[in-house]
Amino acid sequence: MGWLYYQYLLITGIYVLEPWEQSIFNTVLFTMVAMVIYTSYVFVPIHVQLALEFFSELIRGQPESTVALMSKP
């Protein structure tokens, strides 16, 4: 674990900064990553389900009019 953290410090260039600056950067990065994970957890399944429904209706229900399709929630 310590070696991985060392690699992270070297690659991002944080290695040269003072410890309090490193903490600031780590906090900001961690917050951003946490927000990305939360958003994807909450919204990605619903979006994927809606997309699948849309495309399956398109393939199966060809005779149906487009108006009926668009009025579906």
Partner: protein, 518 residues
Amino acid sequence: VQKNGKADGFHQPRVRGEDSFEEAPLYVAVLTYMGYGIVILFGYFRDFLRAVGLEKCHQAREREEQKDFVPLYQDFENFYKRNLYMRVRDNWNRPICSLPGPVFDVMERVSDDYNWTFRLTGRTVENVINMGSYNYLGFAENNVDFLKTVAEETRQYGVGVCSTRQELGNLSIHEKLEQLVAEFLGVESAMAFGMGFATNSMNIPALVGKGCLILSDELNHTSLILGARLSGATIRVFKHNNMQSLEKMLKEAICSGQPRTHRVWKKILIMVEGIYSMEGSLVRLPEILALKKKYKAYLYLDEAHSIGAVGPTGRGVIEHFGVDPKEVDVLMGTFTKSFGAAGGYIAGKKELVDYLRSHSHSAVYATAMSPPVVEQIIRAIKCIMGYDGTTEGQRRVRQLAENTRYFRSRLKEMGFIIYGNQDSPVVPLLLYLPGKVGAFSRAMLKRKIGVVVVGFPATPITEARARFCVSAAHTREMLDKVLQSLDELGDDIRVKFSRHRRSYRPELYDETDFELDS
């Protein structure tokens, strides 16, 4: 008197090994830019804190009365120095307390406020292997037997000369040195100066002036650039070692002449170096000589790093390619690197050197070289030429060539990106990322190896590197220790970026597992 290794001028011109400038994978470039971007953002943040007053400013700043004047410390160089260089400053200017031979002692120093101030702890780190000094032939030594003549000359002449060469400073030992240098290089005459940088910057203005054209290589040293700018001639830069670029410029210069008046150029001078110190690449001397003859230009060859270090008998890049030294118009070199002294020389035809004796700033105004330094150069040259009756000089030249080949081939095998020609003792190892530069130097010092790391502005900002200078005084064990540390450190810090296939040799074992008939 035993003379060995006399260059007779015309060997078969040797095929030059190719320079390698391997490019790193794309992700390395992306990560380098990202790393610099993040640290620059933090630089702006810290500058803001200093401006607001939340943090004490350690660096010089303007006084209150000058706040409305043109700002002094806001350009990128000062910003870079304050926010990037200061953070890793402990890797440079390390105080050394012994002779800079193959091993040396470094004084330990710590910083309490992140490199703004240092204090020495009083301890020294002993027997650090020296991979940064320009000690190519190992003449930086304090062996009493070798330095006997130096001590005698100091007893005779003293140490200070107290005059310039033109006034009362032309000692007989200077005449001896110049004759010896001319004989060593195989030219008519030579002149020695006290400082290598000043040799370039003060003599080029004496050779060219307004109405002349200077074609200089992209990666020339600062002393050449300064001399060219001081002379007032027009300067055009061609791409590094690129003969098509040089030929195009020569053709265009001869066809169109001077910029506005289209008069013929008074002189065209091509300035190149023997070995480029940041890349380790060799000049393409045969092609440049062919171009020079075809277009009737003059050639200024700066052999600062290559004299004594390449060539079968140590006579520099001219001997390496088997070229006649009389074909190069101005040969320049320094005594700092392979000869373990200080100073520079210019050699060539007798008329040229006599002209420089009276018209060059360095010859007229600079103090003459100090006698012990001159004697050190004389003894080093005599050792290389064999005049002292031993083959020690030739042994050192061969040892350097062997060490160079071994070191370079092992590093390539390990998978590092190395620039330059396979025969040059200057070995740059590319690190690229800004975080790894500081980490590499500190980790090597912890393993008791002293290296020089270079970053912006001496190199392009994305190509930070560590530069090793192989020496004839390094033994095989020292090189093996360095290579082993580099292997471990390369895996630890992950700088083995090379994409060429490495040869996998099986480990050598001490015992054989079969019976030998004895």
